[in-house]
């Protein structure tokens, strides 16, 4: 009969309308609660009815592999020997592999010898040009540049805010481990240590000459019969994950205001300078 196709279609839209209420009742409105289980129901494959997420009152946390504008990894402030040190060795691979060529690196030279030092003097990323492809992080041989998860970068003036310099790009290793625990763990397995490759090397050298300037990493290294370390590390990852879950509810490390961050960084740099003076 003419019109039945139309009626069937209308019945479907009506069903969608009613279903959204039925689904709400079935889950007793838990769908709108914040916990992982309930949010997972609303956004999952089984849901019917309303799936909407009310941004910015709610945001969908991005998955680990999500990539948005790179940042540089520096050693944590509490690292005994390399606090605040760049992981980047300014090898330039990220700049070469960058499709829109938005990465600019100034390689530093040692003032005495004139030879290049393995630490960038300047590092710039023009985020207006960056196409978020993730090649820099993918091809970095030192795990020193990573893609961030913070996508809320809007600003009122692009000319003054959109070239990120080294200071703005630098974030501690612990931040990377908090936003991407699984990937950071996998990278650690490849690297063989939670620290930068060079840190492990230095520590080994340090313990060999028994200067014992930093007993803790030396001890860690001594226990680095591969199996033992892996076990220890996976325990650490578990602890980490718990810690992340705990911080997730409250303020995350990077929602602290910038002044505190600056303060921490300044202190770390002071310590670094002292150490350099002592060592040199």
């Amino acid at each position: 009969m003419y019109g039945t196709g139309l009626a069937k279609g209308l019945r479907l839209t009506l069903r969608h309308f009613v279903e959204s209420y039925i689904d709400d009742l079935r889950y007793g409105f838990r769908k709108y609660h914040h916990s992982t289980d309930n949010f997972g129901i609303r956004q999952g494959t089984q849901t019917k009815g309303v799936i909407t997420v009310q941004y910015p009152d709610e945001k969908i946390a991005v998955p680990e592999r999500f990539r948005f504008v790179p940042f540089l990894i520096v050693e944590d402030d509490d690292h005994p020997t390399r606090s605040g040190k760049d992981w980047c060795t300014s090898c330039g691979i990220c700049a070469k592999v960058c499709p829109p060529q938005c990465i600019w690196i100034v390689r530093g030279n040692d003032p005495d010898t004139g030879r290049p030092v393995p630490e960038p003097e300047g590092f710039f990323i023009d985020i207006d040009i960056c196409m978020n492809c993730g090649y820099c992080a993918e091809y970095c041989p030192f795990d020193a540049i990573k893609m961030d998860h913070d996508y809320e970068l809007a600003s009122y003036d692009r000319t003054s805010h959109h070239i990120h310099d080294k200071e703005k790009l630098s974030k501690p290793n612990s931040y990377w481990r908090s936003i991407a625990p699984t990937r950071a763990y996998d990278e650690m397995l490849v690297r063989g240590t939670w620290e930068h490759k060079d840190a492990a090397k230095e520590a080994r050298r340090g313990s060999a000459s028994s200067r014992a300037s930093s007993p803790q990493p030396a001890a860690q290294q001594a226990a680095s019969a591969a199996a033992a370390e892996t076990a220890a590390v996976s325990a650490a990852v578990e602890a980490e994950t718990v810690a992340t879950a705990a911080t997730a509810e409250g303020a995350t490390p990077w929602s602290e205001d910038d002044a505190k961050r600056e303060e921490r960084r300044r202190k770390a740099l002071e310590r670094k300078a002292k150490r350099a003076a002592r060592g040199g």
Partner: protein, 625 residues
């Protein structure tokens, strides 16, 4: 010779090599083999090109001209070349033929009289390379504006923010002191006009002047000549800022009352010279750029490009083909993006013909789940950048898991395979069922779409239409079956085809393809289970960041959601190969499928034009490149 004579009656089934032999035997004066290292096909004498093309089409049966594009060999022989890829609609590989011409006063006879599908492609070659095509009915610029100086794809043409011939640029490292290109080259100073240009002509805003300067073949005098109220034809501009044109696309209509008498598509508003950028880029750099072509199905774009480069790489010694798991993952991603593409296409086509946003939102809801999956696996929802030469960005993660980072972040955590299984076995089929309930028997939809925008099978082939547009006209041509790649030969699926050639037939083709994609995905799932743990890289580790690609040419094509997506790539390096492509051409289905738009629209009402355009399914990122 005897063999050839015996095969005369079955010439249409000759293999590619035998076809070339046949051409050489019968037209030896006009044909010479292309014996450059890594090249294929024949070079045809320019003067004989049209005759040879007729032989190729009529005698040898290569009735489908897939791609026609130009290459500038400046410094590599100093000539221009047109490269044609012709296929048989019954399936099989390409017969590649080329015509060469001098760089100055470049001229090659037009093939529009043989394949009308060459129309836009020759206009593009004229626009970007400055090759003239005597015999072309309307040889005007198509992507650039009429006042543009020069032909930007020529090797000696340099863009406004030119830095170096090839990436990576030396200024980035080790002395990378940052600057903005726009500050060095201020807006307004980056434009130069040709010496003989009359800006007043371009500024003249009278209707007559505007349409004459655009050279769109509108017979404005016939319209303007009539006095007063006798005039019953009208020129209407639809677009570029029109919500139904799916982006910045313009259609220039002449209408007699409500009935369309002629239609000229005008495009190029989103032109960014993707191909020039591609030739500055290294091979690897191009993968994320391909995401930006047809941004609805970026996985398919990646696939076509990596196939083309892998074809070239396989000419070299150090090349490992992708592993089975890698191929299975590729096919899965491509089929998921085909589902996304068709849901999107059907949804917005419905918007165009008046079912405003109710159905499309149901489909987008499904698309969201697929994009969530892409995001968790590839790192981005739309700009996936997932495929690499000989591998992939990464294997499936164990869990689709997010980590709270911003304030108000809500966390999700699913098992990847479970998520995928539920999506493929339950959600997507359910949505397709709903789609059919909602639409297939809907009387309004049937009234609006049946018998509208008809394209016959012969025309579809001749116009080089591709994808659902071609299959909706009764030509069962699907590259996944006709010229298979990846693991498609071992998968069980049917080619969707409808005979009517109208809007409704195209809709039916898309629905069938959705179901066939689900069928393929259901076969992929057990393959993923059985290859669990296998590496996605043949030698277990990711490919190099600056691969060198051996000398030669390749044409990689895939059946994308919108039709045949092809990449023509020339590597012109020396012995060791090159790190940047010499020529990087995209055979964009959204672009070439517009060739028959004018033909299909003739005689229909203005409101139907919107639907016909929607039923072709274009994305301007790919049309304009």
């Amino acid at each position: 010779m005897e063999n050839l004579a015996a095969a005369e009656q079955s010439v249409e089934r000759l293999s590619i090599d035998d076809s070339i032999e046949y051409l050489k035997a019968n037209h030896s004066q006009a044909i010479k083999l292309d014996d450059r290292d890594g090249y294929e096909g024949v070079i045809v004498d320019s003067d004989m090109l049209v005759d040879i093309a007729r032989v190729i089409r009529d005698e040898l049966g290569f009735d489908y001209l897939s791609s026609a594009t130009a290459v500038d060999y400046l410094g590599e022989g100093d000539h221009m070349e047109m490269v044609y890829h012709a296929y048989r609609s019954s399936g099989g590989g390409a017969l590649v033929f080329k015509a060469q011409t001098d760089r100055e006063a470049a001229e090659i006879p037009s093939l529009v009289s043989v394949w009308r599908g060459a129309d836009f492609q020759e206009r593009e070659a004229w626009d970007l390379y400055g090759i003239r095509f005597p015999g072309h009915p309307n040889l005007t610029r198509i992507l650039m504006w009429e006042g543009f100086e020069g032909h930007p794809m020529r090797k000696d043409w340099r863009e406004a923010y030119y830095e170096e011939e090839q990436k990576p640029f030396d200024s980035r490292w080790p002395g990378g002191h940052v600057h903005r290109a726009e500050e060095k080259n201020v807006f307004g100073k980056n434009v130069s006009y040709p010496p003989d240009i009359d800006l007043n002509r371009l500024m003249d805003t009278s209707e007559e002047a505007v349409y004459q300067s655009l050279g769109l073949g509108v017979d404005i005098e016939r319209i303007m000549d009539k006095d007063g109220f006798e005039t019953n034809e009208l020129v209407v501009n639809m677009g570029p800022h029109h919500p139904s044109t799916h982006g910045v696309f313009r259609m220039l209509l002449t209408v007699d009352g409500e009935t369309v008498t002629s239609l000229e598509p005008v495009m190029g508003y989103l032109h960014r010279n993707h191909e020039k950028i591609g030739e500055r880029n290294t091979y690897l750099h191009n993968i994320p750029f391909t995401d930006r072509l047809d941004y609805i199905s970026s996985m398919g774009n990646n696939h076509g490009y990596v196939l083309a480069v892998e074809q070239l790489m396989s000419l070299g010694r150090k090349y490992n083909p992708p592993t089975y798991r890698c191929e299975a993952l590729r096919v899965m991603m491509v089929e998921l993006s085909r589902i996304v593409n068709h849901l999107w296409a059907i949804g917005f086509w419905l918007n165009d013909i008046g079912a405003f946003f109710t159905p499309v939102l149901y489909f987008i809801q499904e698309r969201e789940r697929i994009l969530d999956f892409f995001e968790a696996v590839a790192g981005s929802r739309m700009m996936c950048n997932y495929m690499r030469f000989g591998g992939l960005f990464g294997d499936l993660p164990e869990r689709i898991k997010s980590v709270s980072n911003l304030t108000n972040d809500r966390v999700r955590d699913y098992n990847t395979m479970q998520f995928l299984t539920e999506m493929i076995n339950e959600r997507i089929p359910r949505t397709i069922d709903e789609l059919e309930v909602l639409l297939t028997q809907n009387e309004i939809l049937i009234e609006r779409s049946m018998g509208v925008g008809i394209l016959s099978a012969e025309d579809a082939l001749n116009f080089s239409a591709a994808g659902p547009l071609l299959r909706g006209s009764g030509v069962a041509y699907d590259i996944r079956r006709a010229d298979p790649y990846s693991i498609y030969p071992e998968l069980d699926f049917d080619v969707a085809v409808e005979e009517e050639g109208d809007m409704y037939a195209r809709y039916r083709v898309r629905v069938t393809e959705l179901r066939e994609s689900v069928r393929i995905l259901k076969q992929i799932l057990p393959r993923l289970e059985s290859t669990q743990g296998e590496s996605i890289w043949a030698d277990g580790k990711p490919g190099a960041y600056a691969p060198r690609v051996p000398h030669g040419e390749s044409y990689g094509r895939v059946e994308n959601g919108k039709g045949e997506l092809g990449y023509y790539i020339v590597s012109a390096g020396g012995r060791g190969g090159s790190s940047n492509p010499w020529r990087y051409h995209v055979r964009a289905p959204s672009f070439i499928n517009l060739t028959p738009l004018g033909h299909m629209s003739k005689g229909h009402k203005v409101a139907d034009i919107v639907g016909i355009l929607g039923s072709i399914d274009i994305v301007l990122g790919e049309t304009d490149r």
